[in-house]
Subunit: 407 residues, 2 copies
């Protein structure tokens, strides 16, 4: 019997029903705007090398040993301290779980709360990586649309009301309220307040995913959902991936202790990396992290500006787009006269790659939308790439409808 | 409503049925023989500091960036190379998954293969950490006893035959064939051959967990189950935790590609630490790992010898024990005249801690057994601790039965 068949028959139910993931690969395009990769030139390699002596020679006995399953205590304290400084939230280290990036935080929350057939709510568009993780647990996914001010709270209320009438208790609302992935939009203060009130009224746990919040280029920071919440239903997760180094795989979540104890039980990987955790703590406790975040704000603001200016110069006939106040992404809406499939071909032929809109909807909508990441390339390459994108979109305009033809 | 109740009602079915884990804590005993912790004095801190320059200054753009979900390609190649050198197994890097310690490898295999109500087979005694992970997926656990030569293959065959008669297809056989945890015993070559033949005949996937195999103090290495297997049903996992540093959280598994693709799909944590992976590769590619393993063999052999000698000197009236050829553990059987509960109290009162036998059986048996780890303490402390253990066991002897009393 061929090996594939042997294991297919033995796989768990969930896995048999899921399609295997496609593996990324192939040649790198000249202008990769597809993924939200941090800028490699900004990685604080030299500063981390300076703290390596402390981590290895002074703390080696802890950094290289088995650690706490809930995460390194010093890193949990650091996360709690930063939540207090940055967000005014009082959360103790006992309410923090250190995870292998926020990816794992999302997975643990899904595993704890979502059973096959349960209903969960997500923004549309959203970070499809999270939705793919949720789907391992077999939920029914309901999409709540966004506009320029974040999630449409009126639609959320209507949806929750309808679900309750149908006897359905949603198990989770997943939201990226700040510099949303992929749309770049930020939920307004009024909507934040309304969202936490709805969560309480309908008893729906909220997972607030905020990997970009500290990368604000302008405007005032808004309180997190965790800060506004009074019900204990908001779980907040964040990450050091965008502010220190994604390769350290350090994320975290803050949750009520009763839930947190359960999440630790599901995190059956021996605990998140003590070695990387000690580097992060040593780096931050010397004041290097806050300095590095200030640098990153300048780096990414310049890139956002370059991309917005280039879009204005080269794409305004063909598309509209969002104007994010921070984060990594701009969301583009193609005008009806642009053929999206043709646009993608023309762009790729010019070395320009982006994330097609349908990759951001659970329902596969969004054919005439796309996501551009401005995080990865320096300004000159952003300008060159967006100029090429403009050419591609021009080449993808549909033939004008002949006069007298039926509209 | 108190916060606990809010979430309890919303938890997934699996989690509602599982008891929350107890958190370790409390004061450290003077002689901690409980856990299999690597020797902190042997951590290669200075050598890792020497490679930090390479990792951060030459490879920082990869070490600090998002990595491959299947694991760093250079680390996968290293694992494949070492499988070839050490075990004569030909496995390509595409058949290797890098995990957050072998804990995560075990969890992924369980998640892929085990559904609620499925039957799995484990050794008795076994590494209960693995069984606790399996239990998240709700299996029926069947225990196969060990003797001094490893798993009782005759009992395994009888059990598989009985299960087949009952129409039951076991989903997994979990085994630690070399320097078993907790028993320290090693499966003989004949039994290894018989085991893989039974696995093929009954179509049962085998998870071969081998974290200690390289720490052999004497005798010749035996071929792994993976090496002997012809059916493609053996999944082998290992770890850098005992040979480099547990804090790096680097484990791996080797599996047929069809299964491996599915396991990658379940590993929803963004991939195992690129930062730690680059350290491990840079360390090993300079020849430092093989040198370090040779050092560790000397360190742990001296500790095993110290513990065996001390047991002989202080405990031979009260107990018998295994004589491992490698690894971290000695398994002790108390004589019938020793009261196990009393022994534990007397030992703790003298600062001596060990793992009680029932912590190593899914069925809770093993009251008059215990595990001693010789890995963590230096020889002089091992000798002092085992002398105290001898006193404790002497104090825990049951009162002699009075002459003429009913037997």
């Amino acid at each position: 019997m061929p090996e594939r068949d042997r294991f297919e028959a033995l796989l768990s139910e969930t896995l048999r029903q899921a399609a295997p993931v496609a593996v990324m690969g192939g040649p790198q395009p000249e202008y990769p705007f597809t993924y939200g990769l941090p800028d490699p030139a900004s990685f604080p390699s030299r500063a981390l090398l300076r703290v390596a002596r402390t981590v290895l020679l002074e703390q080696g006995r802890e950094a290289l040993q088995y650690g706490n399953y809930q995460g390194d205590p010093a890193l949990r304290s650091l996360v709690a301290d930063r939540l207090r400084w940055l967000d005014g939230v009082e959360v103790g280290p006992e309410q923090i779980l250190i995870t292998n990036g926020s990816s794992q935080a999302i997975a643990l929350v899904a595993q704890a709360l979502v059973n096959r057939g349960d209903t969960i709510l997500v923004e549309a568009p959203t970070f499809l990586g999270a939705v793919r993780t949720f789907e391992l647990f077999g939920p029914r996914v309901v999409e709540i649309p966004l506009d320029d001010h974040g999630m449409r709270i009126d639609v959320l209320e209507r949806t929750l009301t309808d679900l309750r009438r149908g006897g359905i208790q949603p198990k989770l609302l997943y939201t990226l309220p700040t510099f949303q992935n992929p749309a770049g939009v930020t939920l307004t203060l009024d909507r934040r307040r309304a969202l936490v009130q709805l969560a309480e009224r309908f008893n729906v746990p909220v997972l607030e995913d905020d990997p970009y919040g500290e990368l604000r280029f302008e405007g005032r920071a808004l309180p997190s959902l965790l800060k506004l919440d009074r019900s204990g239903l908001v779980i907040r997760c964040g990450s050091f991936s965008k502010i220190l180094g994604a390769g350290l795989r350090l994320g975290w979540l803050a949750a009520p202790e009763s839930l947190l104890r359960r999440l630790v039980q599901l995190k059956v990987d021996g605990g998140t990396n003590p070695f990387a955790s000690h580097f992060a703590v040593a780096f931050a406790r010397r004041g290097l992290l806050e300095r590095h975040v200030r640098l990153l704000r300048r780096v990414y603001r310049a890139r956002r500006d370059a991309m917005l200016e280039s879009l204005e110069a080269h794409c305004s006939e063909h598309a509209t787009w969002t104007r994010p106040q921070g984060g990594f992404f701009i969301w583009v809406q193609l005008k009806p006269e642009i053929d999206p499939a043709r646009a993608r071909e023309e762009a790729l032929a010019r070395g320009v790659a982006y994330l097609p809109g349908p990759a951001c909807y659970s329902s596969g909508r969004g054919a005439n939308q796309l996501r551009l990441a401005f995080s990865y390339l320096p300004e000159d390459q952003i300008r060159a790439g967006i100029a090429r994108l403009g050419e591609a979109l021009a080449a993808a305009r549909r033939a004008p409808v002949a006069a007298g033809a039926p509209r």
